[in-house]
Symmetry: C2
Subunit: 139 residues, 2 copies
DNA sequence: TCCATATTTCGATGATCGTCGAATTATGGA
DNA sequence: TCCATAATTCGACGATCATCGAAATATGGA
């Protein structure tokens, strides 16, 4: 026993997501991909546009993807990353959860509004799986 | 010369705000204050509710306030902190700026929605100033 | 099959961060 | 005035992080 342990990816927490965004390079990557939209961008294109060395960018993409903020859409030789808008909705809803004790007099239910699919980029365009963490030590 | 330098508080960046939130204790403090709403809570009450030692909490409150996320509402012996909802609106708008290149067909203008005062906790209840960073080395 | 290319992992360095006890600094009442 | 109390700063520890060159790993053609 002990063989299957720690292979299941821990669900990305709000702290994971906020940490992922709380870094200049990664925030730039994220915002670039927000602008680009659901089609996403190849890693090399991101590197070129933001002038980040490939090795560094790769680390950042791994962290953003592991946090569930990005989506690896196509995995051939060239990899395309796109924003998972659903993750943003979840994050914002979590941050503002039960705002003002839910008193609608004080607080327009912003969180609920965000949770609705009326939010950003519609009902999530069909995606490949939110590929990511399940990293087991290979080799 | 050189005497007045670096006393003007640098405006809190998005990275500052995200970093402030990207930490378990601080995120708990923030979410507690979101629930509480505009009235805010005394430092000692926060410490009691979240079981955080005063010295640690003080550091966290300074970071959250310095990032513009909290507001020191009353400064007598007991200090009352409250969420600056305006800061959250700004942050979310920044994160989703120019989403999908502004194409409304793809993207409901979430950022614009948040920027409106229809958002959370109305047009910001009258506050004392967003007291914070201007810290000069005293003593 | 073999190579060119896209991307990731390894590894090491310097820098920043979280924590909290002890000392310090206000403040408001007796 | 003096004290009890609220809150902050100081200081130091260990832990985590960003960076990026070099090496390793895929992939898709020729």
């Amino acid at each position: 026993m002990e063989s299957q342990i720690a292979l299941v990816p821990a669900p990305a927490s709000a702290v994971d997501r906020l940490s992922a965004l709380a870094q200049t390079s990664r925030l730039n990557v994220f915002r670039l991909l927000v602008r680009i939209g659901p089609e996403g961008l190849r890693a090399s294109d991101i590197a070129a546009r933001l002038a980040i060395p490939p090795a560094t960018l790769s680390t950042h993409l791994r962290i953003l993807t592991g946090a569930g903020l990005l989506n690896l859409k196509a995995a051939s030789r060239e990899r395309v990353y796109a924003v998972r808008f659903e993750a943003m909705r979840e994050l914002i809803a979590y941050l503002l959860e039960d705002c003002c004790q839910g008193s609608a007099e004080v607080c327009t239910p912003l969180a609920g509004l965000l949770a609705s699919q009326a939010a950003c980029c519609g009902p999530a365009p069909k995606e490949t799986t939110h590929e990511a963490p399940a990293r087991s030590r290979r080799r």
